[in-house]
Subunit: 389 residues, 2 copies
C-alpha cells in the first residue's frame, strides 16, 4: 500500500518526536489539518486539501487519516497507514451550508473517547474558524489547545533522506535558473518566460522528475518589483528594468527556493550597490550559520551588510523550508529576524532571503542552505550575480 519515500524507521522517529512534544504540552490527541504536516507524518499526498481532512494522532497507536470518501483511495495509495486506519466523511457534507465534515470528525473522536486535551492548529489555512467552532461546541473550549506549529517544529531538523530530496530540488532549481538565463531576452513576454521555466522544473532532468512547487513563480519587473508578491503578466521584458524570479524546484514535495535578479541593459549604480550588499550578506550569513548561533544573529549579518551599503532592511531575512503544499513553502516556525533567539541546529534548512525593496525597484538574490558545523552550505548551485543581457 505505501507508495512513499521514507523508511518505517523514519516515520517511527517522526511520530516519537511529535508525541514527545505532545506530552510536554499535556496533549492526548492531535488533529492535524496542515497538508505538509499530514504528509510528513503519514506520506499522504493529493490535491484534496481544499476540503476538510486531517491526520489524527493519539498519544499511542497508529495515526489515522480522515478525509473525503473519494480521497480515501488516495490515502491507501500514498500513506503507510493500514486500511482500517483510514476514515472518511460522507460526500453530502462537501461544501454544504447546513452541515459540515467536522460534524463527522466529532463522532469519530467520541467513538474513540478522545474528547479532551485535543491539540488543533489554530492558525492554519486548512483549519477554519468554523471547524474550530464545531469542535469547541462538542468538546468545550477547555477540551482544545492550540497546537499551531507543533508538528512544523519537529520538521525543522532534516534527516539525511530529506536533505537528499532538498538537494535534488536544488538541482531542479538550478536547472530552472539555467533555462531562465538562456531565455531571458529583450521582447520575450513574461508569461512565455515563466512557462518555459516552470516546464523545466516539472519535466525535470533525465533522472529527476519535478513536482508542483507550493508557490507559483513570483516574477515582477521594474516598478512591479517594488511589490513583493506580484506573479506575472504578458508584458515583454524591457531594457532598463530589473526583474527578479523567485522560484523553486520541487521533488516529492521538498523545495529549494532560489531567487535571482536579471537586468536588460546596464544596471544603474544603486542596483549594483544593492547587489554587492546582498552578495556580501549571503557570504557573511554562511560564515556564521553554525549550530548554536541564534536566528537573530544570522539576521544581523544581512542587516549589517545592508546598513553599510546605505540600505535599511525592515523585513525578516529568512525562514525554514522543506516539505510543503500551497500556499506557502515556508515552515512557519523560526524567522531570521531580531527577537528570534532560537538556536540553529545541524541540518536545519532555511531560505535566506536578503531582498531589497525600494519604492522604484525590488531585487532578490536568495539561497536555501543547510546548517552544518562549518556554517551555512547552499543546497543549490546557481551563480548569484545579477544576470545582465
Amino acid at each position: 500500500m505505501p507508495a512513499n519515500d521514507f523508511t518505517t524507521t523514519e516515520y517511527a522517529r517522526r511520530l516519537e518526536k511529535t508525541r514527545r512534544a505532545m506530552a510536554e504540552r499535556g496533549l492526548k490527541t492531535l488533529v492535524i489539518c496542515d497538508p505538509s504536516n499530514m504528509a510528513w507524518l503519514t506520506g499522504y499526498d493529493g490535491w484534496s486539501f481544499y476540503v476538510p481532512q486531517a491526520v489524527i494522532l493519539h498519544e499511542s497507536g497508529m495515526p489515522m487519516w480522515w478525509g473525503r470518501t473519494q480521497d480515501k483511495p488516495g490515502a491507501a495509495l500514498t500513506t503507510w497507514l493500514e486500511a482500517d486506519h483510514l476514515f472518511d466523511w460522507p460526500e453530502e457534507h462537501v461544501q454544504h451550508p447546513d452541515h459540515h465534515p467536522f460534524d463527522s470528525l466529532v463522532d469519530l473522536l467520541r467513538e474513540y473517547g478522545w474528547v479532551e486535551a485535543i491539540g488543533v492548529e489554530m492558525d492554519n489555512y486548512y483549519f477554519s474558524a468554523r471547524s474550530y467552532q464545531i469542535l469547541e461546541t462538542a468538546f468545550g473550549r477547555d477540551g482544545l489547545a492550540d497546537a499551531t506549529g507543533l508538528v512544523n517544529w519537529q520538521r525543522a531538523v532534516k534527516s539525511e533522506q530529506e536533505l537528499q530530496l532538498m538537494r535534488s530540488a536544488g538541482r531542479l532549481s538550478a536547472h530552472m535558473h539555467g533555462v531562465l538565463r538562456a531565455e531571458f531576452n529583450e521582447g520575450i513576454a513574461k508569461n512565455a518566460l515563466v512557462a518555459r521555466v516552470q516546464a523545466a522544473g516539472i519535466e525535470g532532468l533525465p533522472d529527476l522528475p519535478g513536482d508542483y512547487p507550493a508557490i507559483a513563480p513570483i516574477a515582477p519587473s521594474g516598478i512591479e518589483a517594488s511589490a513583493s508578491h506580484i506573479t506575472w503578466n504578458d508584458r515583454p521584458l524591457a531594457p532598463g528594468e530589473a526583474t527578479y524570479f523567485e522560484i523553486s524546484g520541487c521533488v516529492r514535495r521538498y523545495h529549494c527556493p532560489i531567487s535571482r535578479t536579471l537586468f536588460l541593459g546596464s544596471p544603474p549604480e544603486d542596483i549594483r550597490r544593492g547587489e554587492a550588499a546582498i552578495l556580501q550578506a549571503i557570504e557573511d550569513t554562511f560564515a556564521v550559520a553554525k549550530p548554536g548561533v541564534s536566528c537573530e544573529e544570522v539576521a544581523s549579518c544581512v542587516y549589517e551588510s545592508f546598513g553599510r551599503a546605505g540600505y535599511i532592511k525592515g523585513s525578516r531575512t529568512g525562514y525554514p523550508v522543506g516539505l510543503s503544499y500551497p500556499p506557502d513553502w515556508g515552515e512557519r516556525t523560526m524567522s531570521l529576524r531580531p527577537g528570534d533567539t532560537t538556536k540553529l541546529e545541524e541540518n536545519m534548512t532555511f531560505h535566506l532571503m536578503p531582498g531589497l525593496w525600494t519604492p522604484d525597484w525590488g531585487m532578490a538574490i536568495t539561497e536555501t542552505f543547510v546548517v552544518t558545523p562549518n556554517g551555512g552550505e547552499p543546497l543549490a548551485d546557481v551563480p548569484r550575480e545579477i544576470v545582465v543581457k
Copy 2:
C-alpha cells in the same frame, strides 16, 4: 493606479450587490479574507494570501485593502482603490508566535468605530481559527456574524466581461487539451506530459497569455485514478490504462476547467459503457440547464444517465466556477446534487463534473458551461470522447 480589467461601473455594481446582501443580514462591515472575493471587489492580485490580508467593506464608502507592508505597493498597482484606502500591518507580525496581524486589524476597525455587526468568512482557508479568536476577544461573539459565502454568492451570475474572460480561459483549456492529445503517447513520463500541457496554458496563444490555475493538474492513471485528487508522478504511460487530466486554462484569474480521459490501447467494455453514460449525461444536462431549473434537477440528468448504464453516482456532479485563487477553483456556493434547490439564473457558470470512480479505475469527462435561455452552453470547444492511441 488601477491595473485591472473591469470598468468602474462594474465594480460599483459589485459593491452594490454585496451591500444589499449585507443589509439583508444586518451587517455593517465585512472583513473579507478570501483572495477571490478580495480580487472580485477591488482587483487585488498577488501571491500574498499566505499571510493575513483582507478587504474591509463598510456599509458606505470606498472599500479598504489591508495587508502586509511589503504587499501594499502591489495593492496600489492592482486595485482601483485610492492610496489612502490601503492599510498595512507591521512586518514584525509576520508568522510571529506571540502577536498577530489581526491585532492591528482590531486597532483599525476600532479607529473607524466599526466594532459591531462585522461579517467574517468563518469557513475559509484564509481566515484562521486564531484570527477569529482575536476578533472575538475584541468585539465579542455577538459582534461577529458568519458571512461565509456572502460575496461568493454575488459572484454567481457573470457579467459579459467576465464571460469573455471565461471563454478566453476556455480557449486556453482547449489549447492545453490539444497539446495533451498530441503528446499523449506510450512511454512518455507523466511529469513530462504535465510540463508540456501546463506550459501551453501559461505561454498561451499569440493574443492570449495564461495565468496560473487555482488547482495543479490532476492527472492520475490506472489504479491511481480510483483516487480523485492524485496529481502526477514520473511513471511512463502504459497500455491498458485510463488516464484522466483535470486541467484549466486561466486568464486574469478566470477559469474554465475541462477534464478528459485518455487510453493507450483498446478501452475495455466497462470503460466504454462509462464513457457513453457520461457523454449522454452531458447532453441531457445541457438540454435542461435553463434559468429557473434547480441545481438538483440538473444533477438528476447525470444520476439518471449513470443509473441507466448500471453505475451509481454518489458524489455531487458540479459546482460554480469563475474567478479563483488556490487551493480551489470552485466558488463554494451551489452544488449540483440532490437537496440543492437553488434555481439557475442566466449567466451562471458551472463546472459539470460527471466523473465515475470505481475501485479499479476512474474517468472524468467534464465541461464548464454557462446557463442560457436555450440551456447549458459549453465555454470551451474540446472533443469529448476518450482519446485512444
